[in-house]
C-alpha cells in the first residue's frame, strides 16, 4: 500500500474506532469528575481529576453486589469446567455413539430463549426457597454456559495428538490419569478460553439476576440499575460504579483477546 493511502486509511480507521470507544472513555472521564462537573450544562471537558467518587462508591453499599457477582461467576465457571471437561472428553477422545446428536442437543439448549423455561424455573426457585439466593444464579449460569463450555473444550481436545492417549492406554492409565496428566496440562489455553467466555456471560447477566434476586443476592447490574430510580441520579457515582463493574470483564477480555474469538464462536473460528 502506498504511504499516502496508508495514512488516509489510518486516519479513517482511528476516527471510526475512537467513535466506538468514546462512550467508554466518557464513562471514565465522568467517573473522575465531581458530581456538579459530571452533570453540567455545557459538559465539562477540563477539570482536575479526582478519585473521591471511587472512594465513595467502594466504601458505600456497592461491595456486597460486587462480591455476589464474583461468587456467581466464579462458582458457575468452575462447575462448567468440572462438568464440561469429562463431557467434552466423551465427545472427542473416546466418542460415544451419536456424538453429533449430543453436540446439537447441547447447543440448541444454549439458544433456547430464556422465555422458554423462565416461569417454571421461577416457581421452582420459589418453592425451594432459592429466590434471592446466590445459589439460584450459580445454577442458572452453569446451565447457560455449560453447552458453550462443552463445545469449546471439545474443540481443544480434538487438537491433542491421539498417539498420546494410545500410549497412555497401553500403559493402563485410568480415565482420571488421562484427564489430569494429559488433558489438563495440554489444553490450559482451552481452559482459559472457556473460563473467559463463562466469566463474560455470567458477570454481565442481568435478566435472571433482576428476576431471581432482590437484595441479599443481588449482583452488580442490579446495583447499577438502582441509579434509574431509588438512589437518584448521581452521574459521577454512576460512572464510577459502571467503571468498576465493567473492569473485570474488560481486563480479562483485553488480556485474552486471542481466546475471545474462539470462545465466542464455540471453537469454530480459531
Amino acid at each position: 500500500m502506498p504511504i499516502r493511502s496508508r495514512i488516509v486509511w489510518s486516519v479513517v480507521g482511528w476516527v471510526v474506532v475512537l467513535l466506538f470507544f468514546f462512550p467508554v472513555l466518557w464513562m471514565w472521564l465522568e467517573s473522575l469528575k465531581t458530581e456538579p462537573q459530571a452533570a453540567s450544562s455545557p459538559p465539562t471537558f477540563f477539570f482536575v481529576p479526582t478519585l473521591s467518587t471511587f472512594q465513595e462508591v467502594l466504601s458505600g453499599d456497592f461491595p456486597p453486589f460486587f462480591i455476589n457477582s464474583a461468587i456467581a461467576s466464579i462458582v458457575s465457571t468452575l462447575l462448567v469446567l468440572v462438568l464440561g471437561l469429562p463431557a467434552a472428553y466423551a465427545l472427542a477422545i473416546r466418542p460415544v455413539k451419536r456424538t453429533q446428536d449430543f453436540l446439537f442437543f447441547f447447543i440448541s439448549t444454549r439458544f433456547l430463549p430464556f422465555a422458554a423455561s423462565l416461569v417454571p424455573l421461577y416457581l421452582l426457585a420459589r418453592d425451594l426457597q432459592l429466590l434471592d439466593n446466590i445459589l439460584a444464579l450459580v445454577l442458572i449460569y452453569t446451565t447457560i454456559n455449560l453447552p458453550l463450555g462443552v463445545w469449546l473444550l471439545r474443540s481443544f481436545l480434538l487438537e491433542i495428538p491421539p498417539d498420546l492417549f494410545e500410549a497412555a492406554r497401553v500403559d493402563g492409565a485410568s480415565f482420571r490419569h488421562e484427564i489430569f496428566r494429559i488433558v489438563v496440562p495440554l489444553i490450559s489455553p482451552g481452559l482459559a478460553a472457556t473460563s473467559l467466555i463463562c466469566l463474560i456471560f455470567s458477570w454481565n447477566e442481568f435478566f435472571y439476576a433482576v428476576n431471581f434476586t432482590s437484595s441479599v443476592a443481588a449482583t452488580t447490574p442490579i446495583f447499577l440499575v438502582g441509579f434509574i430510580s431509588g438512589r437518584g441520579l448521581f452521574y459521577a457515582k454512576l460512572a464510577a460504579a459502571a467503571t468498576v463493574s465493567s473492569l473485570p470483564v474488560l481486563m480479562a477480555g483485553w488480556i485474552a483477546q486471542k481466546q475471545l474469538i474462539r470462545g465466542l464462536t464455540m471453537g469454530a473460528v480459531k
Binding site: W14, V96, L118, L224, L250, L264, M266
Partner: protein, 317 residues
C-alpha cells in the same frame, strides 16, 4: 435444519469423528464411554427440557400467582388471548425489527472495520483492543452511560454537540426510542461481528488478491469476487450467533426506555417480564414463552436466509 452460518458449526461438530470409531464397541464399553458425558447431559436436560415442557403445560392454564386457587384449565384461551391482544403483535414486530436492523447494521459496520484492521493501517493492535471494549462493557452499564451522560437532553454530550445545528436539545430516548435502542445495540454488536469477520479476512491468502490486482481487477471487484465469498461463512456465523443473542435483548430496553413510550420498544422478552413479574399471570407468560421459542426459530432461519439471499445476489453479480 439448514440455517446459514451453521455450516462452520456443523464442520466443527463433524470433525474428529474418525479419531476413534464408535461403530463396533461392546455394550460395556459403550456405557464406560457414556459415563463422563452423563453428569453434564443430565444436568442440562433437567434444567432446560423439563421447564420447557412445564412451560407448554402451564400455557394451557389460567393461573395468577397473586390470586390463590386461581389455577384452572383454560384450553387455548391464553393463545387466543395472545392473538387478539395487540401488545403481543407489537412485541413480536418490535423483536423482529430490532433483531434484523441490529444484525444488518452491525454486520455492515463490522465488515468495514474488519477490513480497515486487516489493511496496513498504523496502530492496528491498539485499534482492535479499543474496538472490542463496547462488547466487553457490562450491557447495563453501557446503556446507563448512553442514556444519562451521552443522550440526556439537559446534561448529555450529544444534544449539546447538536445544538449549533439548530436541532435544539433533542430528547433521543423520548423522540426516537427504537432508534436509540438500535444504536446502543449496534454499538455493542459491531465489535462482535468485527472480531469474527476479521478472523475470516486473516485466513485469506494475500497472494490471491495480489494476483487479481495484477490481472487488472480494481479494489471493489477484488472485494466482491474474492474477499466476500471467502468471508461469507464468517459473516453468516456472526449473524447467526448475533441474532440468537439480539432476539433476547432485555438489558438495554429495561435501562433505556422501559419498553416505552407506550409499548414502542417492548419486545418479547420485555413483554414476558411485564406479564410474568408485574402481572404474575403464569399461564399467559408461559404462552408468551412458547411464542418466543417459535419466533426465535423463525428469526434464526427466515430473516437470516433473506439477509443472505442479498449477499448471494451481490456476490453473483
Amino acid at each position: 435444519m439448514n440455517i446459514p452460518g451453521s455450516s462452520i458449526l456443523r464442520s466443527v461438530a463433524g470433525s474428529g469423528g474418525a479419531r476413534d470409531s464408535a461403530a463396533s464397541i461392546s455394550r460395556r464399553e459403550a456405557w464406560a464411554r457414556r459415563l463422563p458425558l452423563l453428569p453434564a447431559f443430565i444436568y442440562v436436560f433437567l434444567v432446560t427440557q423439563i421447564p420447557f415442557v412445564l412451560t407448554i403445560y402451564y400455557s394451557f392454564f389460567s393461573w395468577n400467582l397473586l390470586k390463590p386457587g386461581s389455577f384452572r384449565f383454560s384450553g387455548l384461551d391464553n393463545y387466543s388471548g395472545l392473538i387478539t391482544d395487540e401488545s403481543t403483535r407489537i412485541a413480536v414486530w418490535n423483536t423482529v425489527l430490532l433483531t434484523v436492523s441490529v444484525i444488518a447494521i452491525s454486520v455492515i459496520l463490522g465488515t468495514g472495520v474488519a477490513m480497515l484492521l486487516n489493511s496496513e493501517v498504523f496502530g492496528k493492535g491498539l485499534m482492535r483492543t479499543l474496538m472490542i471494549a463496547p462488547f466487553l462493557i457490562m450491557p447495563t452499564a453501557g446503556a446507563l452511560i448512553w442514556k444519562h451522560t451521552l443522550l440526556n437532553p439537559l446534561y448529555g454530550l450529544l444534544p449539546w454537540l447538536l445544538t449549533p445545528f439548530g436541532l435544539g436539545r433533542i430528547d433521543f430516548v423520548g423522540q426516537a426510542p427504537m432508534v436509540t435502542v438500535v444504536t446502543v445495540e449496534v454499538w455493542r454488536w459491531t465489535p462482535f461481528m468485527m472480531l469474527i469477520i476479521l478472523a475470516g479476512l486473516q485466513s485469506q491468502n494475500p497472494e490471491v488478491l495480489e494476483a487479481a490486482r495484477v490481472d487488472g481487477a480494481n479494489a471493489f471487484q477484488a472485494f466482491r469476487r474474492i474477499t466476500l465469498p471467502l468471508v461469507r461463512p464468517f459473516i453468516e456465523l456472526g449473524a447467526l450467533l448475533g441474532s440468537l443473542f439480539v432476539v433476547q435483548t432485555f438489558d438495554s430496553i429495561y435501562v433505556l426506555t422501559a419498553g416505552g413510550p407506550g409499548e414502542d420498544t417492548t419486545n418479547i422478552p420485555y413483554r414476558l417480564y411485564i406479564v410474568a413479574f408485574q402481572g404474575f399471570s403464569i399461564g399467559q407468560a408461559s404462552a408468551i414463552g412458547v411464542v418466543a421459542v417459535i419466533v426465535t426459530i423463525i428469526v434464526a432461519t427466515f430473516a437470516l436466509r433473506t439477509l443472505f439471499t442479498i449477499f448471494q445476489v451481490e456476490a453473483r453479480r
